[in-house]
């Protein structure tokens, strides 16, 4: 996540689940952890048993709230206002952890005099380029530093983050930083924090308006509740105590989602809670290996280990490295990581003489994420599509658009355990029902291939705390079921055979690719160990490497993903380590293997004070051992092992040597946690409250209603609700939000097809308050129809006080809660919530807003067939939007 990346240097969970037991206060926001990560939640309960305060800030009262010591309600889409209220409280009541803030954050840095805040420009930061809907970041920089060519980054590869990912800042972002911070520190700073343009004073000014009264107006949270949360956090932070934050996609799926996480980062930096036991920000991810799928990315803008994909202007390896490789920090060795990757992929063919086969790599030229690809399918440009363990027909916002896109392909391959909606849309979908699609008109050729499950194959998952864990194979897959490993290996083998004699330059990469893997058994399953070993890499002697520090830029080492280097040290699969937790320290370093270098808490240098002593005995974790002249402790120190706390960089120092002994955030150019982000984000150096794309509420802070640089695709197929005050806005008067249930999993493929889970949670429903039920004549157990400008869906009604009403700026506001798991296939079926949403996305990471929108609700079931289209058209007409044929 760039929210964490821009604040701390690496984009991921700063801590691990078991560490929550050490917290004195835990704030869970944007997450229903007890229901969606129930087993991880045991560590919250451990903390509570030890007397910790557990605070759940959420629009609904859930089982997480029931287990918390405080439930605090909040209108969906307003968390930045709430967190801004906490920042305001800390600053106005002088409750920050002064030593930590002064030593470990950029509070003292002085910012360019051209910088203007949102209060000066009515919701805009300085540098807004109206015609591009983007910011020029030049005025956000440290004084006397300038950043070249930052505008327009949003369409390129710079925004290399994503909702669920942990990653360091991309080298390009790093490069930008290092241009700024040649000497490892800002050129001007004021250690007294009094300079009017120092970060600390700007922060104070920015959050001055986020008073408890303002929070109450925006969030609908009673002001005394905000004060109670802020006070609990302040009381449980400092030398002796630490507080932790947990979040999930309730924070990320917004048009300003990255800034939600930034806001929490500011709170945690002010209170001194990063890098310390019981502190941190824990991102809770929803898929078994979503972290792994970013580390070894099935993402367009990255190569393994967060190396950026080359762009068109990178005509050769030299240019690529020059333009992408920073001058300081870990990324100064990107040449070694990159050339080792090329050796892993192209073997002997990658040499200095062949420019390491760099020219075999495809180039990116803009945003090639999933939404532009879908638009490409609708236009007929994208002709073939692989859907592998995903279900966009149910799981993607404005799913109708995705189904219609798939109906416009030449060919489609779907690999899954079940015949999911994304395989069946051509004869079973809302478009078939309304007559917008007919099977005999759909040209797409479809291959459905059954997949093997995790018990039928071996391999590693990377969990939410960056931990690789190996699952062994229990049984052979049945019938045609095969792993993805099998499918892609054999597909690649087949294609290579067919093109063996090709003289086309484009086929060179396939011909020269290393694609020989040992296979096992009758079905010729590639050996996953061999693949993990390639990911780990080897040296000149052919032996598995133990650390990425040994990677070389001269072609003598090969490594498929540098951050995973070490997982196969000494030819052992460390992901498969299973020393029982009961036989190890609470950190359990010998269970699985975590990147980087098996560290469990990141930035753990900050668990010691500037002199290297633990802040307190109670919060002892990593410290400077003056006798042995090394850092030691419970975890692998996240610092140069022998860099003393009093180390001062000599003139002209580079890389790690340019950072002093009191800079725990070693991937940041200045080694500090960033309260103000001069770079790395495209929508502002400070988080500020904007309303969601679709909201019935006016932004009371500024004239700007929503994030000015959010990405939109306005079309007849993707219309947006009118903003409040505009004609037709009242047509969609309620706030809507979506969430998961314990018994189901995302788009339902792995749960609606499972008998036990379908029985436990059999039917789509919506949650409404008694007041809304009365207003719209909804009956508990009856039916409701939820309407947006995209479509209308039906759901059983659950009338419950657990979804409260809000009084926003004096007006009562109702919220409709919608679990989003359903679709038309499987044992338990129902209308799909994602059909309701528009596609409107965060500009940093291209993630859609599905956690706060607007809608209407009516009693009864929705109409069928063409009558459904007519109903939606009636709403569109009243809202002043184009109608659909």
């Amino acid at each position: 996540m760039p929210g964490l990346g821009a604040s701390f240097g690496r984009g991921g969970a700063t801590t691990f689940q078991q560490d929550l037991q050490n917290a004195d206060c835990i704030v869970i926001m944007g997450s229903n952890m007890a229901e969606n990560h129930p087993v991880g939640f045991q560590w919250v309960m451990e903390a509570r048993e030890r007397g910790a305060e557990v605070i759940h800030v959420d629009p609904r009262f859930t089982r997480t709230s029931a287990m918390a010591t405080q439930h605090v309600r909040i209108r969906p889409g307003t968390d930045i206002a709430f967190l801004g209220g906490i920042i305001n409280y800390i600053l106005t009541h002088e409750r920050w952890f002064d030593e930590y803030v002064k030593a470990y954050t950029n509070a003292s840095a002085i910012i360019d005099e051209r910088f203007r805040d949102t209060d000066d420009l009515d919701g805009l930061f300085s540098g807004f380029v109206e015609e591009k809907d983007s910011y020029d970041l030049a005025s956000w920089q440290y004084e006397d530093l300038s950043l070249k060519g930052s505008a327009g980054r949003r369409m390129g590869s710079a925004a290399s983050g994503n909702k669920e990912a942990t990653h360091p800042l991309s080298p390009r972002e790093q490069a930008a930083q290092k241009r700024l911070l040649e000497h490892g520190e800002p050129p001007h700073y004021d250690p007294t924090l009094q300079h009017p343009r120092c970060v600390f004073q700007l922060l104070k000014k920015h959050y001055a308006r986020y008073t408890p009264e303002m929070v109450e107006r925006i969030c609908g949270t009673p002001r005394e509740q905000l004060v109670r949360v802020a006070e609990a956090l302040c009381a449980n932070s400092g030398r002796e105590r630490t507080s932790a934050f947990c979040y999930s996609v309730g924070w990320t799926q917004h048009t300003v989602g990255v800034q939600y996480i930034r806001a929490a980062s500011i709170v945690q930096l002010l209170l001194g809670n990063i890098g310390r036991p019981g502190g941190g920000i824990l991102a809770l991810r929803g898929h078994a290996s979503i972290q792994g799928s970013t580390d070894i990315p099935t993402l367009y803008e990255l190569l393994p280990g967060y190396i950026p994909m080359p762009q068109a202007e990178h005509v050769d390896m030299k240019t690529f490295l020059e333009k992408s490789m920073p001058k300081h920090g870990l990324w100064t060795h990107m040449d070694a990581y990159m050339i080792s990757l090329m050796k892993a992929w192209f073997g002997e063919n990658a040499s200095a003489a062949s420019d390491w086969c760099f020219n075999y790599l495809p180039r990116i030229t803009g945003n090639h994420s999933t939404f532009p690809s879908i638009m490409g399918m609708l236009l007929g440009d994208v002709k073939g599509f692989f859907v592998v363990g995903e279900n966009p027909a149910v799981g993607s916002p404005n799913s109708s658009l995705h189904r219609r896109a798939m109906a416009n392909l030449d060919w489609l391959v779907v690999r899954d355990f079940f015949e999911i909606e994304s395989a069946a849309f051509w004869y079973d979908s809302p478009e078939i029902e309304t007559g917008k699609l007919r099977a005999q008109d759909v040209k797409t050729e479809i291959f459905f291939l059954p997949a093997a499950d995790h018990l039928q194959k071996q391999g590693s998952f990377t969990n939410t705390q960056r931990l690789l864990q190996w699952h062994h194979q229990a049984v052979e897959p049945e019938g045609d079921c095969r792993s993805e490993l099998w499918f892609y290996y054999h597909l690649g083998k087949r294609i290579r055979e067919k093109l063996r004699d090709s003289a086309e330059p484009r086929d060179g990469a396939l011909r020269d690719l290393t694609w020989e893997y040992t296979t096992l058994g009758e079905i010729e399953e590639p050996d996953a160990h061999a693949v993990l070993r390639e990911i780990n890499g080897w040296g000149m002697d052919g032996k598995a490497l133990g650390t990425y520090l040994k990677l070389k830029p001269d072609g003598s080492t090969a490594c498929g993903c540098w951050i995973y280097c070490g997982v196969f040290e000494n030819e052992q699969n460390h992901a498969a380590r299973r020393k029982p937790g009961s036989e190890q320290s609470w950190v359990a370093p010998e269970w699985g293997w975590a990147w980087p270098m098996n560290r469990r808490i990141l930035y753990n240098r900050a668990s010691a004070d500037p002199s290297g002593e633990p802040w307190s005995e109670r919060k002892r974790y990593v410290w400077w051992d003056a006798e042995k002249r090394t850092w030691s402790g419970e975890d692998v120190p996240d610092f140069i092992a022998d860099k003393a706390p009093d180390y001062v960089p000599p003139d002209g120092a580079k890389g790690d040597a340019a950072l002093d002994g009191q800079s725990p955030f070693i991937l940041q150019g200045d080694g500090k946690g960033w309260l103000f982000a001069p770079d790395g984000l495209v929508d502002g150096p400070f988080p500020t409250h904007y309303e969601p794309e679709e909201s019935p509420i006016r932004n009371v802070l500024y004239e700007r209603q929503s994030n000015p640089v959010r990405e939109r695709w306005e079309s007849a197929n993707n219309p947006y609700h009118p903003a409040p005050g505009k004609p037709g806005a009242a047509v969609f008067p309620y706030v809507s939000t979506s969430y998961r249930l314990t018994e189901h999993h995302t788009a339902g493929g792995m749960s609606r097809n499972v008998p036990h889970l379908s029985e436990l949670q059999p039917e789509m429903f919506c949650e409404v308050s008694p007041e809304l039920a009365a207003e719209r004549g909804l009956e508990n157990g009856g039916w409701a129809t939820i309407v947006s400008a995209r479509t209308a869906i039906e759901a059983r009604v659950l009338v419950t006080e657990r979804i409260p009403d809000y009084v926003i700026d004096g007006a009562p506001t109702h919220v409709v809660g919608l679990p989003y798991h359903w679709g038309s296939r499987g044992i338990s079926t129902g209308d799909s919530v994602n059909d309701l949403w528009s596609i409107s996305v965060d500009p940093n990471v291209h993630i859609q807003e599905t956690k706060a929108s607007s809608c209407d609700v009516r009693a009864g079931r929705r109409p069928r067939g063409k009558a459904l289209t007519a109903l939606v058209n009636d709403y569109r007409r009243r809202a002043g939007l184009p109608v659909e044929e």
């Binding site: 991810r285 078994a288 979503i290 367009y300 992929w345 020219n359 995903e390 059954p450």
Partner: protein, 181 residues
């Protein structure tokens, strides 16, 4: 004395032991005791990463339960994790390739080998048809914008690795997964 209620008047007043037993319950054994082997696994649902033990008998998974050795999960599983065996053995599970020809109105059968071969042909053809060697400035692009891929967050690292490696060699850049969605 076969009626449990009567037996409850004896030593087992709360009916938590022998009073609740029958000849049948006395004769059955837990599946964990009769399994041939135990395989260590990891839950495939969310990213908590709970440890699992899969019990196998006669080449079939008969039971999946939490692994008490895991320092993260300490033996626990949630409802989804506990349903892992039924996920694997659901009556809706597909075991055969299905093929739908353009404008077809029904699925057809296709053997796996033919399917992989046909997909390979489609990839080669689409790639040839949509290949972009260079941009208008003559800078190399080496790619196809005619093929896209979505998926990865539930897959193994090794699988994602081979996917990215093959796609990159094919010139496919539109590779995405759930991490974005």
């Amino acid at each position: 004395m076969s009626w449990p209620l009567l037996r409850q008047f004896g030593r087992d007043r709360l009916a938590l032991g022998e009073a609740a037993q029958s000849a049948r319950t006395a004769a059955i054994e837990p599946r964990t005791a009769t399994a041939d082997r135990v395989v260590r696994s990891i839950c495939p649902y969310c990213a908590v990463g709970c440890g699992q033990k899969a019990y196998v008998k006669d080449g079939k998974v008969v039971h999946v339960e939490g692994d008490p050795d895991s320092p993260i999960s300490r033996g626990r599983l949630c409802p989804k994790g506990s349903a892992t065996r039924t996920l694997s053995q659901s009556p809706l599970r597909e075991y055969k390739v299905k093929y739908r020809r353009p404008y077809g109105t029904a699925w057809e059968e296709l053997d796996l080998d033919t399917a992989v071969d046909m997909i390979a042909d489609r990839v080669i053809a689409t790639r040839a048809q949509t290949w972009e060697a260079a941009d208008d400035k003559g800078q190399p692009l080496n790619r196809t914008m005619g093929i896209a891929s979505l998926g990865g967050a539930t897959l193994d690292n090794e699988e994602n690795y081979l996917m990215k490696k093959l796609y990159t060699a094919l010139g496919v850049v539109q590779v995405e997964n759930q991490a974005r969605i």
